[in-house]
């Protein structure tokens, strides 16, 4: 939920509640005031009647009075009512067939020794209309006020929060491995200026850490090259020593194997950090088929040894613009991975076209397919790889703008590389 919606929602909720409670309250209090006023009027009519009573001496006077004042109704009664009573009743009009609400005061009078019930009545139609009108006007006034309040608040908040959204947009676009610094929009508001400052500092610190970490990997791998080279050369010299026993030869052999692994690991780490720091940028027109066939040539002996069936479906003259080193490493890594992990006597399938390359190999399903591109993730420790081949492949795809994905279907591991993403950008 947006911050703005949140504040406005509170306002609207409060307003609705207020309106809901205030409207009936308002209506009833106005009505009560009216009825009170009418009752007062009826009471004064009663007093008038008592003042007039001594003047009405004959029956004729009485009839005349009745005709002149139709709000007074006199009825003979069995007993004399002691108390006045006020009530609202519906009375059918004389001419029209309409029912109108009336406010009525009933009281008892003694006329010439006989008890009568006097009923003084006054129509409430006019008053009712007035109350309705007043309530409508009042309510719409409140509603308008609230609406205006919400609209103004919304507009104001939008302009006030604009710098915040601008900063947010900039942060969304920011990528630490691509941009070195972040340029934030200037703001006159103190809070946003502070925010800008804090974000800039944070970004700068992170860039510094990121860079030093990247440099560290590259430098560490680089610095290792020389001692590795010395180690390797000394081992070779050790192999030359006279009267080397078989036991010693085995030891030197094992050491050489371990040395090879360290060297390869270090080479891969160096390559990875070089790709990350974007040292391979130049693009050339490359024929994908040539790269694939060249790579297969290198691994021919392994294919034969494992008795693999290689199915090729390579589109002729499919050329893409790419960095030669990166494309070669990418394809080599994917193909060597397929050959390495295919089961003996299994199948390796390579399909290539202008849009991409798919390399598949037969084999059992993986335990953790989601970790397949992770550094140093290996399903088994028996293989001799550095554990970096596929993460290098992924990194290359990231840098070159290709799309790489892995899936497992009908006993085949499939690696799909899509070049198209880069072609369109």
């Amino acid at each position: 939920m947006k911050l703005l919606t949140r504040t406005v929602r509170n306002y609207v909720l409060f307003s609705a509640l207020l309106l809901l409670i205030a409207t009936p309250l308002f209506y009833f209090s106005i009505q009560w005031l009216f009825v009170n006023k009418m009752d007062g009027e009826l009471r004064s009519h009663k007093n008038e009647f008592h003042e007039l009573l001594p003047l009405l001496k004959t029956e004729n006077d009485m009839d005349f009075f009745k005709r002149m004042n139709d709000e007074f109704v006199l009825k003979e009664s069995q007993y004399l009512m002691q108390n006045d009573s006020f009530l609202t009743v519906d009375i059918i009009g004389a001419e029209e067939n309409e029912i109108h609400p009336y406010r009525v005061l009933r009281t008892g009078v003694m006329i010439k020794g006989k008890p009568y019930q006097l009923q003084i009545q006054e129509s409430m139609v006019d008053n009712g209309g007035l109350i309705g009108a007043i309530v409508v006007i009042q309510v719409s006034l409140i509603a308008l006020l609230l609406l205006g309040f919400v609209i103004i608040n919304r507009k104001l908040s939008n302009t006030i929060w604009q710098p915040f959204y601008n900063i947010l947009d900039k942060l969304k676009q920011y990528q630490i491995d691509k941009d070195s610094s972040i340029s934030l929009p200037q703001s006159a508001t103190a809070e946003f200026r502070d925010l800008n400052l804090v974000i800039s500092q944070l970004v700068n610190r992170n860039v510094e850490v990121f860079r030093s970490q990247k440099e560290f990997t590259e430098n560490a791998a680089h610095e290792l090259q020389t001692p590795l080279a010395i180690c390797r050369s000394k081992l070779e010299l050790l192999a030359q020593t006279k009267d080397l026993t078989q036991e010693q030869a085995d030891l030197v052999g094992s050491l050489s194997d371990a040395m090879d692994r360290i060297t390869r690991l270090n080479k891969d780490l160096l390559l990875l950090s070089k790709i990350e720091s974007r040292q391979y940028l130049s693009l050339e027109e490359i024929e994908v088929k040539t790269v694939i066939t060249k790579c297969l040539e290198v691994y021919q002996h392994k294919v034969q040894e494992k008795g693999l069936i290689v199915e090729l479906s390579l589109e002729e003259s499919s050329r893409i613009k790419a960095n030669t080193v990166l494309l070669e490493v990418l394809i080599t890594n994917i193909i060597s991975n397929a050959i390495r992990h295919a089961n003996n006597g299994g199948t390796v399938k390579i399909v290539s076209s202008n849009s991409g390359v798919t390399v598949s190999n037969s084999g059992d399903a993986l335990e953790h397919p989601e970790k397949i591109f992770h550094r140093f993730h290996r399903e088994s420790r028996t293989t001799f790889g550095s554990g970096l081949g596929l993460s290098i492949a992924k990194k290359i795809c990231e840098v070159a703008g290709y799309d790489i994905s892995y899936d497992y279907s009908s006993d085949m591991h499939n690696f799909r590389i899509l070049f198209m993403a880069a072609a369109t950008s």
Partner: protein, 230 residues
């Protein structure tokens, strides 16, 4: 065929232990080796002597080794330079080769590989026009990439030819299976988890050589590698 004059090699390498290893290994080939630890030292030696081959590390404490290369180019002494570098960047490789270096070998390398490259460079330089390499009954045609025994050409695959030439370039020395694997697979190829393919190539090579009545010069050192010895 030619006057026997020992080959002179200059090793420009600031890492003393590394330089020592290279010298020790190449001496067995009866090369005369000199070492320069700095670029100024190297420049001085270049002015005074002629070398058959110069191994040049381009990351030196007192400047970039590529400057030494430029100087060599100016002096027209630019022959037989192999750049050995821990940097292995494409730019350095291209720049070095553009400046006239003959070869580029990234560290860490196998000494056997270095030795093979050195002999290739020297062969090109010294025996211009003579592209054969002879060893007793074995004759290697370097241009045609073929091998004949007792004057009869034997049919070898490319890998078998590479393997034999590699061993011959390191004769009298044990060449580890690791160095062979890297040499046969090429720079960028990932080496697989076993060396079965070397054994297969070696078996075929030995069989073909013995069929041509060639003396068995290749000795197997189990668990370690091979040795080509007369």
């Amino acid at each position: 065929m030619f006057t026997f004059k020992p080959m002179k090699i200059l090793i420009v390498e600031d890492e003393r232990e590394m330089a020592k290893s290279i010298v020790q290994y190449l001496r067995q080939e009866s090369y005369v080796c000199e070492v320069a630890y700095t670029s100024s030292d190297a420049e001085e030696k270049i002015m005074l002597h002629d070398y058959d081959c110069i191994l040049l590390d381009i990351t030196l404490p007192d400047g970039n080794g590529l400057k030494v290369l430029e100087k060599l180019k100016k002096e027209r002494k630019l022959e037989g330079v192999i750049i050995i570098s821990a940097k292995d960047s494409i730019e350095d490789r291209i720049q070095g080769l553009n400046l006239g270096a003959d070869d580029y070998l990234p560290k860490p390398f196998h000494l056997a590989e270095l030795s093979a490259r050195v002999s290739a460079v020297i062969r090109r330089k010294r025996f211009e026009g003579n592209n054969t390499l002879k060893f007793h009954e074995i004759e290697v045609d370097l241009l045609g990439k073929s091998i004949s025994v007792n004057g009869k050409t034997i049919d070898l695959t490319r890998k078998e030819y590479d393997l034999l030439l590699f061993l011959m370039s390191n004769k009298n020395r044990v060449v580890t299976k690791n160095a062979i694997a890297e040499h046969l697979s090429g720079d960028d190829a990932e080496v697989f988890d076993n060396f079965d393919f070397i054994y297969a190539h070696m078996k075929n090579l030995k069989k073909k050589l013995s069929e041509s009545h060639c003396h068995d010069y290749i000795r197997t050192i189990y668990g370690l590698g091979y040795k080509f010895e007369p």
